[in-house]
């Protein structure tokens, strides 16, 4: 096989091989050139977009949340800037170790660590998580000087929500909290996901929740160039965020304070409404809580203390708790009798001290009865027998038909969440309420109890106040509202929340007048006279006592439990009597007789509202005494 060749032949062979190699080179380079052409010309647009996507990140700029102020401009919720220390987990390495080292520089409490863990678990993205909030300037300086030791840890200036009034009106204002999974779902349902990109907080209760859409504002966008590490390098453009709208309330925070103070340590609720507009002047639920606790994520201890307390401070009794109205139901019953024509003002009944029905005696408070009782007297002395009879004459259907338009048994539509319907009993209601057929039947005797505000019926203080406001303003039922103006943060234009009459009751003025005259006499000579006898303005009112019948028959125990077995104390009132500016309902849980604990609270509230008189502590009586001394 061995071939002998001359060097010349070898040379020619080499030449040929070089030509082949050269062609191979050209083919390969041609392949590369074709590839470049494909990438750089054919698919240029695609890769251009990819490169831009790589390069440009859209960062949300969170808007400032709107503020909340009372009717006189006193701030109830605002924002303030503070430094926080935040850790970006993806860049910080071992978190526990980082936090331990941070603790050498700054004080980091167990509480901070727990909250950090909690937020880390809940955090929706890989953004920074606060380990300390509200750093002092000194702490900021100390950290900055050692910052090189802590990769992924940074000091950030953030806006915090602050409730300067603390626990006052906390049920009204509510609070914001960190957005959790449920909130995310809700935001998605509302189609607001884009607007909440970057937002960390959302209204969780009260006005903060119900006016979330107004308060939140519109998120801005910053277009930034980012590097492969995801760090912003340069700002390309910016659309500024639009701050949320401010709320101006109908609420008078001073009145609210007076009312809350008047409750002292007692549990209860009060709602005061401006009858002409349905604007809520004060909405009290005691005990209250400090909404500031919730802003950064409430600590487990604080949460336990609030949640496990037998006094249930988080419960908004004014709108969520329904109580039997007791005798405060009587003026409405009287009006029902007049309107339906079952009674006339002059028509009187003989009260033997009881009303016999179906072999059972429904008793009056007063042994032996009140003698001859007409409509006026029935309200002033709070005669049960009169209303036993009236209820029987009206029938449960008749009562329900009259009471329902007043708003009893249905939500008033107030502009904070969590309202209860209450119970306006009727045979229909009973069918819906009970499952077993023998329980579903309506008994005539049950109607009798409803007539004096006991039995099944139960209403919230808000429903009571709003119904009273409707009666005294001549029959207009308003949707009660806490917000008077929504102030556009950009144009400062005020959007007025118009009084919204839900319906006209069509009450006859003389019927209303008959009831109102009787209610005024309640505070002059009747059950409210002790609280209002010496008032320099005229007041219409009605006391009430709601039996805590759920505990009826329970064993009597000394101390706290026994107190909780006592009846709830009601008082509804309006003033001035001829041209009412305020209508209110006060409920004191386990307060005993309405005249005893609820009416004095109403007095303090009205004194402040109508006279500007503050209950110079400790009590009004003392002030009176001091005045008479001079």
């Amino acid at each position: 096989m061995t071939e002998f060749r001359t060097p010349d032949q070898e040379s020619w062979r080499f030449r040929r091989r070089v030509v082949v190699a050269g062609l191979f080179v050209l083919v390969c380079f041609g392949l590369l050139a074709a590839r470049f052409y494909y990438l750089q010309v054919v698919r240029h647009d695609y890769f251009h977009t990819r490169a831009e996507d790589n390069r440009i990140a859209l960062l949300p700029v969170v808007p400032n949340r709107g503020t909340i102020a009372d009717r006189n401009g006193v701030v109830l919720a605002r924002n303030y800037a503070a430094y926080t220390l935040e850790i970006t987990p993806s860049r910080a390495g071992n978190l526990d170790e980082t936090i331990d080292r941070l603790a050498e520089v700054l004080t980091i409490e167990q509480r901070d660590r727990r909250r950090f863990r909690k937020i880390l678990e809940e955090s929706r993205n890989f953004e920074s998580v606060p380990i300390r909030t509200r750093l002092s300037d000194d702490e900021v300086a100390r950290f900055i000087s050692q910052r090189y030791r802590f990769p992924g840890v940074e000091v950030q200036a953030r806006l915090f929500r602050d409730y300067p009034q603390g626990a006052t009106a906390s049920h009204v204002v509510g609070y914001i909290g960190r957005i959790n999974d449920r909130d995310v779902e809700r935001i998605e349902e509302r189609g607001e996901t884009a607007n909440y990109r970057g937002s960390e907080y959302i209204g969780k209760s009260g006005l903060e929740q119900s006016y979330e859409a107004e308060l939140h504002g519109t998120t801005g966008v910053e277009q930034v160039e980012v590097n492969a590490g995801g760090r912003a390098v340069r700002r390309l453009s910016r659309t500024s965020p639009m701050a949320g709208n401010d709320l101006e309330l109908t609420l008078d925070i001073e009145l609210q304070k007076v009312a809350e103070a008047a409750f002292g340590n007692r549990r209860g609720a009060m709602v005061a409404i401006e009858p002409a507009t349905g604007g809520v002047l004060a909405l009290v639920s005691t005990p209250t809580f400090d909404p500031n606790l919730f802003v950064d994520g409430i600590s487990t201890q604080d949460w336990k203390a609030l949640n496990d307390s037998p006094d249930h401070p988080l419960l908004n009794r004014a709108i969520f708790s329904a109580y039997p109205p007791g005798s405060t139901f009587k003026p409405f019953m009287a009006l029902a009798g007049l309107t339906t024509g079952k009674r006339t003002p002059g028509q009187a009944i003989a009260d033997p001290g009881f009303f016999a029905f179906g072999g059972h005696r429904f008793m009056d408070d007063k042994v032996g009865g009140h003698g001859m009782v007409d409509l006026h007297k029935s309200i002033v002395v709070s005669c049960n027998t009169y209303y036993y009879q009236l209820a029987n004459d009206l029938g449960i259907e008749g009562i329900a038909r009259f009471m329902s338009p007043l708003g009893f048994g249905s939500r008033t539509g107030i502009d904070i969440p969590g309202e209860a319907e209450g119970v306006l009993p009727s045979p229909d209601w009973k069918k819906r309420r009970f499952r077993r057929p023998e329980q579903q039947r309506w008994f005539g005797g049950e109607t009798i109890s409803v007539g004096i505000g006991q039995g099944y019926n139960a209403y919230t203080p808000l429903q009571m106040a709003n119904a009273l406001a409707a009666v005294v303003n001549g029959g207009n039922v308003y949707r009660p509202h806490l917000v008077r103006h929504v102030v556009d943060n950009r144009s400062s234009a005020k959007r007025v929340v118009e009084p919204e009459p839900v319906r006209q009751l069509g009450l006859k003025p003389e019927h209303v007048a008959a009831v109102r005259t009787a209610m005024v006499d309640v505070t002059k000579a009747g059950t409210g006279a002790r609280a209002f006898g010496n008032a320099p303005y005229s007041v219409g009112g009605k006391t009430g006592t709601a039996q805590v019948f759920s505990l009826k028959g329970a064993k009597y125990v000394e101390g706290r439990v026994s107190e909780r077995l006592r009846d709830h104390s009601w008082f509804i009132a309006y003033a001035p009597a001829d041209e009412p500016k305020i209508a209110l309902a006060v409920l004191v849980e386990n307060g005993g007789f309405g005249a005893q604990s609820a009416a004095p609270i109403a007095r303090l509230v009205m004194d402040y509202y109508l006279l500007g008189k503050r209950p110079n502590q400790p009590a009004v009586e003392d002030v009176d005494a001091a005045e008479s001394d001079e």
Binding site: F36, Y46, F47
Partner: protein, 380 residues
């Protein structure tokens, strides 16, 4: 001053004598291009790049000084030393990045596989020179064995890129020496079918757990990532995805020098070394890439021209092989950066940052110059 005995111009002429002006011009263009890109890609490495360039040019000058006959006489000792060092690496080498490539010698460490890139073609060219005029089939077998031993040693380090280049270097000598087409064509066909089937059945072959006999896991991964970079966009695929984005977004004229967003925002990995071509294509576009291709074609053309005119068979083979090695570097690098070849650690010749490769490549240029000079000095 012309009267003076001291002739600075004469000295300069003596100094420049071994330098081939055309090769020097082309090399200058490439190094200048590299500098231009380095200012954008990694300005803080300019100083080191300068030092590398000076050292590499000195090596080139030294190689050009030595006559090609003298150089060929070094072939056997160089080859033997190279193989011994490779064995030493296997026994005592330092492990770095999962591969055993470095050998500590006193204060410095060397990478013997790099030496093999020059020693290999030198050795084979010398061997064929010995057999000139009577080259038979068994010579190709001997040459094949001479090739397989060091390549095998490099492959087990493992260093796929270098073993590929050394194989190529040896193969080119054998090819130019006249290896029968009857052997080349079937091997090429097997290769094409093999690659074709990998591409066609990539999905199945790339399943985890499928063992590719003879290849390491990371090498399998490289091939699989090439087939489908999106499989691993944040890991191995990231390089290819980002470099194709850089190239594609460059368009016809590029985003402008210093204005490549992929480059300057650090999306491009290893932008000053193996992926510098992506910087070029992003900032200077298709135009810049074509210019680079043209410079390479000129370099190769000059290399082939020198080889064809070389006086001896050994210098022809050596020259042709070196020229083809330049091509291999360029093609494999641009192919991998543009996503048509797997990512193997092959730099863009004369352009990528990195002293070792630059010195090796410039040594190759120096050898070509030496061959060119030997033609001039030994007239036919």
């Amino acid at each position: 001053m012309t009267e003076s005995r001291f002739h600075p111009l004469g000295l300069l002429r003596a100094f420049l004598r071994p330098i081939d002006p055309q090769l020097m011009l082309i090399l200058g263009a490439l190094l200048g291009y590299a500098y231009f890109l380095m200012i954008s890609a990694s300005p803080d490495r300019l100083e080191a790049q300068t030092i590398n360039t000076v050292v590499a040019l000195a090596a080139m000058w030294a190689a050009a000084q030595i006559s090609s006959q003298r150089m060929l006489s070094l072939a056997l000792p160089l080859y033997i030393v190279g193989v011994v060092l490779l064995v030493a690496v296997e026994l005592f080498g330092e492990v770095s990045k999962g591969a055993q490539r470095w050998l500590h010698v006193g204060v410095t460490r060397i990478q013997p596989s790099e030496l093999m890139k020059i020693a290999m073609p030198l050795m084979l060219a010398w061997y064929f020179q010995q057999r000139e005029g009577q080259i038979a089939f068994r010579d190709f077998i001997v040459a094949g064995l001479l090739l397989v031993v060091p390549v095998g040693l490099i492959l087990i380090q493992p260093d796929l890129g270098t073993s590929l280049l050394v194989t190529a270097a040896g193969f080119y000598v054998i090819f130019f020496a006249g290896l029968s087409w009857k052997l080349i064509v079937p091997v090429a066909l097997v290769g094409i079918i093999g690659i074709g089937s990998i591409v066609a059945f990539g999905d199945t072959l790339c399943q985890p757990g499928v063992d590719w006999y003879g290849l390491r896991e990371y090498q399998k991964h490289r091939v699989c990532t090439l087939l489908d970079p999106t499989q691993d966009p944040l890991g191995k695929g990231f390089h290819i995805i980002q470099s194709t984005i850089a190239i594609g977004s460059g368009g016809v004229l590029g985003k402008g020098w210093m204005a490549g967003t992929q480059t300057h925002l650090a999306f491009l990995p290893e932008r000053h070394t193996d992926f510098i071509f992506a910087v070029l294509a992003e900032e200077l576009g298709l135009a810049g890439a074509i210019v680079l291709l043209i410079i390479y074609v000129l370099l190769l053309a000059r290399g082939f021209q020198i080889s064809i005119n070389a006086p001896t068979l050994a210098s022809k083979l050596l020259g042709g092989a070196i020229t083809m090695i330049f091509f291999t570097y360029a093609f494999v690098n641009m192919g991998m950066v543009s996503g048509i070849l797997p990512v193997v650690g092959v730099p863009l010749p004369f352009v990528s940052y990195g002293g070792t490769a630059l010195v090796t490549l410039c040594l190759g240029v120096g050898i070509l110059m030496s061959i060119q000079r030997s033609r001039l000095s030994s007239p036919k």
